[in-house]
């Protein structure tokens, strides 16, 4: 009969991984952060990780709110301090898979010092940096990632500072995995996160997203979707590109891809190996599964 319907329960396929009691989220319509969360959750779903052992840490800012929406052990720390928080978490409980998701201002502005040292130590964690070229939560101020000429509330006549090339920085500091994508490269971001989650060591993924309300509006770059598409269309995949060539100019070409994928012992590997060698049997190995 026509009236016969199959009872279908309406369920968000991501429900298992999100704090549904906190939805709707606070992000603006057209913001790229939603797609970053989708990619992250999708990557986690496809991985064979023990989800009870997955911890997400973020700092402060728009991206910093991600920790509050994902249903894992999740920590919303202070501005710039997600990496040292994650460092303590990982070292205290080496069984954890620790992922930092935070913004460019958080990780590379106020938290810049922590970034270079966590990468130098090869601290075993994945850092996903969502780069929207400005400080969005506070109303669109100039950042360490703002391309020259872009206009922001604390650069009202245009930005004249040089900006960071984030993959170059990560590479130079010793990261073992470095990639860059734009938010619309949904499947590639997902695959990249999947790949990085499998790695041991300091992995770094930059995801370029539009900030529709501030960066886009102030610079008259259209709505979120068109900027999302603009970044996508102006991106060029160059896997393994020399990280010295990855600067992003104002509305210029964005080179994306996986640039670095190497293996080296982590902080804890180095600590255990070195101290066992120097101190012999008296050394109490730390954070390794016991027999």
């Amino acid at each position: 009969m026509n009236e016969e319907y199959c009872e279908v329960e309406e369920k968000n396929p991501m429900e298992e991984f999100l704090r549904m009691d906190r939805i709707p989220h606070i992000w603006c319509p057209g913001c790229g952060l939603g797609t970053v969360v989708t990619s992250f959750v999708e990557a986690v779903r496809k991985s064979d990780l023990d989800l009870d052992k997955l911890a997400v840490v973020s700092g402060i800012g728009c991206t910093g709110r991600i920790a509050g929406y994902v249903k894992f052990d999740s920590f919303h720390s202070t501005h710039g301090r997600a990496l040292p928080f994650a460092t303590g978490l990982k070292l205290a409980n080496p069984d954890l898979k620790v992922v930092v998701i935070s913004g460019d201002g958080d990780i590379h502005g106020i938290g810049g010092n922590h970034f270079i040292h966590a990468a130098r130590r090869n601290m075993d964690m994945l850092v996903i940096c969502v780069n929207n070229f400005n400080y969005a939560m506070t109303g669109g101020q100039v950042a360490a990632t703002t391309p020259k000429l872009a206009n922001l509330s604390t650069a009202p006549y245009g930005n004249f500072e040089y900006s960071f090339s984030l993959p170059y920085l990560a590479d130079a500091c010793g990261a073992t995995y470095v990639a860059r994508w734009t938010a619309l490269h949904l499947r590639r971001v997902t695959r990249s996160i999947q790949e990085a989650l499998q790695k041991r060591g300091f992995s770094y993924i930059e995801v370029i997203t539009p900030c529709v309300t501030l960066y886009a509006r102030r610079n008259r770059l259209g709505d979120g979707l068109s900027l999302l598409k603009y970044y996508y269309d102006n991106a060029e995949i160059q896997h393994g590109a020399d990280t010295r060539t990855l600067d992003i100019g104002y509305q210029g070409k964005i080179i994306i891809g996986k640039f670095i994928d190497r293996e080296k012992p982590t902080f804890l590997d180095c600590m255990n190996e070195h101290l066992a060698k120097v101190l012999g049997d008296k050394y109490q190995r730390y954070g390794e599964p016991h027999d």
């Binding site: 704090r19 009691d21 906190r22 009870d52 052992k53 911890a55 840490v57 402060i60 920790a67 509050g68 249903k71 894992f72 052990d73 999740s74 920590f75 919303h76 720390s77 202070t78 301090r81 990496l83 040292p84 928080f85 994650a86 460092t87 303590g88 978490l89 990982k90 070292l91 205290a92 409980n93 069984d95 954890l96 010092n113 922590h114 270079i116 040292h117 902080f267 600590m271 101290l275 101190l279 008296k282 050394y283 109490q284 190995r285 730390y286 954070g287």
Partner: protein, 388 residues
């Protein structure tokens, strides 16, 4: 509250000749601290050096971070990862830690920070003594929180009170401070470390109920919520934002009232259980000398001289500076002529003495700006004046 015996692995039982800084590290190890993140700063670095030398044989981690901001934040992460954690610092480093001390308080994270005080402000006197951070420890982090601070006056007490600090921090889920100073930190004395089974350790207040019922910030009867650690399947959230019982952000006046009142109440309402001080001959005293840390060691000499001169002098040595023993000060204030408060600052705890005595007895300062300890004669002079 669950008490257990100390893990013998970390307890260096025996009589030792140690300085205060080393004794703090030994106290931490005895208390079960297995995570230390720190940044070198005079005159506190020896604690880190002692810890890193010992930890490979105990089982744990020492990491020298890139600054004090990173150190305190790594501690908070480590505690949520399930460890007991400590750090040590001095003036400038202490200032850098302030924001994340607030995060620790907001997330109700038990951890221990020792401040081996030197002369300030700014770089001040890196190698010389001061007690200028006594108000900073209480009020330094923005917002409205309460913390616990202990002030050892000897290497032995550096050991004992570090264990006590860990116990208190676990009991109340609050950052707890060892407010020592350069003199006590660098003073070598006999330190007796008891056998592990004679050291009582307060266990973390672990949650044991059903996983889906866990609320990270639901206060228990003693106002202190139960804790879990990352990796155990609770999928919990915690934030530095004002939050509700679930740990979820709640940005409104009602949540703020609940949250901030709670952070204060759990210390204020348990203050009588936390407060510790040491009194001598206060029952018939005209003058009571109130001091702490190295200054209490110097004051002893002045008090002896005053008693010889026939003045009825009692002493009250603060062991917990925060919470402050205001009830006892108030009682004494009604019975004596004056308090004399020698400090290596312009007069910080003296303000508290004044507040607690509510006009019934003056708090006469013996201010010394630091760099060296008081001359007992200077304290004696003030005692004599006050006794007139």
């Amino acid at each position: 509250m669950k008490k257990v015996k100390a893990d013998p692995k970390g307890v260096l039982t025996g009589a030792h000749y140690l300085d205060g800084d080393f004794a703090i590290a030994e106290g931490g190890l005895a208390a079960g601290c297995r995570f230390f993140a720190g940044y070198p700063i005079t005159p506190s670095t020896e604690t880190a050096e002692r810890f890193v030398e010992r930890i490979p044989f105990v089982g744990g981690v020492f990491i020298q971070m890139e600054d004090e901001i990173a150190s305190i934040t790594a501690l908070i992460g480590a505690v949520w990862g399930g460890q007991k954690a400590m750090t040590v610092t001095s003036g400038p480093g202490f200032s850098l830690m302030m924001e994340n001390i607030g995060l620790a308080a907001m997330m109700e994270t038990p951890l221990v920070i020792a401040n081996v005080q030197r002369g300030g402000p700014s770089t001040g006197l890196p190698t010389l003594v001061g007690q200028g951070d006594m108000m900073q420890v209480r009020w330094g982090s923005h917002g409205d929180i309460k913390i616990i601070a202990l002030a050892p006056d000897s290497p032995q007490e550096c050991f004992d009170l570090t264990i006590e600090a860990f116990n208190l921090s676990e009991m109340y889920r609050v950052p707890t401070f060892i407010m020592t100073d350069e003199c006590v930190g660098h003073m070598h004395e006999k330190v007796v470390i008891p056998p592990a089974d004679k050291i009582e350790i307060v266990e973390r207040k672990w949650y044991e109920g059903p996983k889906d019922k866990y609320l990270p910030y639901k206060p228990d009867k003693d106002l202190v919520p139960f804790m879990v650690k990352a990796g155990d399947g609770y999928r919990f959230h915690t934030t530095g934002l004002t939050h509700d019982e679930r740990g979820y952000p709640a940005i409104n006046a009602e949540a703020q009232d609940w949250c901030v009142r709670h952070l204060n109440d759990k210390i204020t309402k348990n203050a009588d259980k936390i407060i510790r001080f040491e009194e001598d001959q206060t029952h018939n005293a005209e003058i009571v000398v109130i001091s702490y840390g190295i200054t209490s060691r110097v004051a002893v000499k002045a008090v002896q001289m005053a008693r010889k001169a026939g003045i009825k002098v009692g002493t009250l040595r603060l062991i917990t500076c925060w919470p402050f023993p205001e009830k006892r000060i108030k009682e004494l204030a009604g019975k004596i002529k004056a308090f004399v408060v020698p400090e290596l600052n312009y007069g910080q705890m003296a303000l508290e003495v004044e507040r607690a005595s509510a006009g019934k007895a003056p708090a006469v300062r013996v201010s010394h700006m630091g760099g060296w300890v008081h001359d007992p004669e200077d304290i004696l002079k003030v005692i004599k004046e006050a006794a007139k």
